[in-house]
Subunit: 316 residues, 2 copies
């Protein structure tokens, strides 16, 4: 079988894959800038792993299964997927990186509440500002946290925050897992939260959900975290609220444009931590992703249903 890999695997990881798949034809493309030779290999592949160029996928003849390297598939939403999904199975990494994202959300929250961001910024200035620092920080005990999303990352984030004494509510569509459902309840919940953490994927329903009006509902000195998708929030309104000092800060793992352009106002916006879409990461993330892929490949060969098939209609 011809397999096409467009993932940033190390040489050791590539060797491991070759050893695991001795009877297959493996091709390792440039993970970020695949070229014409890579395209030639892709055209022969029955199985591909990675965020392969959408137009190549549309044009492919032999491809039967595409395993994405992450959770999102916004880059493929404009394709004619109703036709494509008849020919190609699509799977993503849902759940594989949940705990990593949850850890970054908590890390970002604590970086504000415990003054870590300030401490890091004081160091190059050799500035001892103990008293100012001590009285500017706060405990998470009793903090009201609203998590937008009710999937595995949201649940994982809640589990990490509860021992701090936070009151955590999840917003989602399914009443069996979410504490807050429906836009009216969402609006009230937003106005009652010390910390709002969005983990929402990009769908027709979530795009610009946090528009200027809803951002205006957040209490003064609320902390905002976005580790879902940048398109969920009105970025200009968010920047205005941060520049005006209305919000305590923002931890943004995702932005509307990525990579963030050199001249983007978020770089210099006060009280912003930009984690640069790293939240799902860890130094063993590719190894974990490869393990997931290999298990799914066993299912594929056995003709069993694949794990983590994407739901185009839901959008995640």
């Amino acid at each position: 079988m011809n397999l096409y890999f467009q993932v940033p695997a190390s040489d050791t990881e590539k060797d491991g894959l070759r050893a695991s798949l001795p009877n297959d034809e493996l091709w390792f493309a440039d993970p970020s800038n695949p070229d014409e030779r890579d395209r030639g290999a892709f055209e022969k592949a029955e199985v591909a792993f990675g965020y392969c160029p959408p137009d190549w996928v549309t044009a492919s003849e032999h491809l039967r299964w595409l395993q994405l390297l992450g959770v999102g598939f916004d880059g493929y939403l404009s394709l004619d997927w109703e036709t494509l999904e008849k020919r190609i199975q699509w799977t993503n990494m849902r759940g594989v990186f949940s705990s990593s994202v949850a850890e970054t959300c908590v890390a970002g929250i604590l970086a504000f509440t415990r003054g870590i961001k300030t401490a890091v910024e004081l160091c190059p200035r050799h500035a001892w500002e103990k008293d100012k620092l001590r009285t500017s920080i706060r405990s998470l005990d009793g903090a009201r946290v609203l998590i937008l999303g009710s999937g595995t990352i949201a649940q994982c984030t809640r589990e990490l925050l509860l021992p701090f004494g936070c009151e955590v509510r999840l917003y989602g569509q399914r009443a069996e897992v979410a504490d807050v459902t429906g836009l009216q309840d969402l609006d009230r919940a937003l106005s009652e939260s010390d910390i709002v953490c969005s983990l929402l994927p990009e769908t027709e329903k979530t795009k610009q959900l946090l528009n200027a009006e809803r951002l205006g509902l957040l209490p003064a000195q609320c902390l905002f975290v976005n580790a879902g998708r940048g398109s969920v929030v009105d970025e200009a309104a968010l920047i205005e609220a941060l520049q005006g000092g209305r919000l305590a800060g923002a931890v943004l793992d995702v932005t509307q444009t990525e990579p963030l352009p050199q001249d983007h106002p978020l770089w210099d916006c006060p009280n912003v931590i930009l984690t640069q879409h790293s939240a799902g990461g860890s130094n063993d993330e590719i190894a974990r992703a490869i393990r997931f892929f290999l298990k799914n490949l066993e299912r594929y060969r056995a003709g069993q249903p694949l794990q983590n098939t994407v739901d185009w209609r839901r959008g995640y």
Copy 2:
């Protein structure tokens, strides 16, 4: 009764104290630089609250109870406390700020493992380094954490870390609360830890406990946290280990000299976060301390045993 306050209370908090104690003589001294007028008030006081100058305490005639504003009392250890404790009751804030310190420890750990420190440093440079960031960070899942100390802060830190999937052990003297006791077991535990977090007070037994030899036992890329006392660690050896890249980083809430002098090498030491002895802090810390003091004052007036009396022999 004459009461002397040497605490950074706000005007509102001072008014609150006056309202709570309408029949007493209250004096609010300069919290950091008490002057001769303050000294005059101190000499008349039966009860004092704050870190009052040690020589004033020795010379005092009327003082019967000193409530410290923090946990440590190293500044008074050189006094003739065997004589002083016959005349004066000493209490500290043990347990009152435990959760705050634990929160800062976890915040500092996550700032390294989730790349928050790097993210904060990249911002002023407008530098998008997503791929580098993603592969440099790690999950706490499975991390072996050794906490030096087995008191309330240590136990609180453990409770916060367990949901991350950490394996947490406490080092202390009492086998009923500590997982690791004795120096031989400590040495082995140090060599088996991904993260070492010291919460030890300064005592004869803890001074320089983490000498160069013990620091040498830490595995390469171990993360070190100190939110106890700076004197517990050989600072020069720690700096050498950090500058040489042997340790992944250090979160230092305490240092041997505080405030840290302008020209101290720790300011420019790679992979250090200096939280400037803020760990016990929160924007409501004085309010919390005052509530604790007022409850203890009720006990004092009723002739009941005070809470949190200091144990000079144990040193904490």
